[in-house]
Subunit: 127 residues, 2 copies
DNA sequence: TTCAATACATCAAACTCTTATGTATTATTT
DNA sequence: AAATAATACATAAGAGTTTGATGTATTGAA
């Protein structure tokens, strides 16, 4: 009789999600965090996501900064610079347009998940 | 007094999901469908997904065929050609490696969704 | 004083999807 | 009978995103 588990470790050790899955949800994550926190800066976003997901979603700066810039260019975010000593900090906030977009995106994700679950739960030859 | 609904129509009319969301789940969808149906051909996969999701997830052939070829190149799928009259039909099946990959992917997606929900459900300033 | 953490940013290469385009057979409509 | 739609494969240029590296600079900890 086995007294230790040798498989399914992946679900016990914190599994890091393949970047493929995170693709497509990055903007949703950023918009939702900003909706909840009024203003955040880039580095803070990466750390917050790391903490909230126990390291399972790791946003890289190379992906995050271009995304923030794109959201800003779309008029969804506004920015304000702050100095902490001599170090620059760039805070992002949702514009009114950004607020409705945030709701829209979270909504869409929720429905997408429902649709995906109906796809992935289907068992063969039930009838 | 309004007697008709003018907003939230998007959730009543079948919303088509942005391709951004579908990115990263295409392989999962294909692997799961093949796990449930033993063998399927490309066109059949596009139609099945269309039906099962009520047109909300639409796989284009330009995305599907390269993906099938990639999965095959990875040793996850095997193929067999059949002729329906003179028309070619290429059936895909899961290899043993593909079967475990399918479980892995569905599992990963499920956990990813849980993680995302904890991210997206968080409300600000609860304490 | 050296290393790690904080904080911004850019960029080439890689990857994936979109949107045609192409070929060919078969079924349906006009 | 001819035209159109559906079936069924496939590729490929361009677009969009992410990876992974690299860069600059400040601040805190060892």
């Amino acid at each position: 009789m086995k007294t230790y588990v040798s498989s399914y470790q992946k679900t016990e050790i914190e599994m890091i999600f393949s970047s493929e899955l995170i693709k497509g949800t990055l903007k949703t994550i950023v918009l939702k965090l900003l909706a909840d926190n009024k203003k955040m800066y880039g580095y803070e976003i990466t750390q917050t996501v790391k903490e909230l997901t126990k390291d399972r979603i790791q946003l890289t700066e190379g992906a995050l900064y271009p995304t923030l810039h794109a959201l800003e260019a779309d008029g969804l975010l506004t920015t304000e610079i702050e100095y902490i000593g001599k170090r620059v900090r760039k805070y992002y906030s949702l514009s009114p347009k950004g607020k409705s977009k945030a709701k829209e995106r979270v909504n869409e994700f929720t429905e997408f998940v429902e649709t995906m679950q109906s796809l992935l739960d289907i068992k063969p030859r039930l009838a």
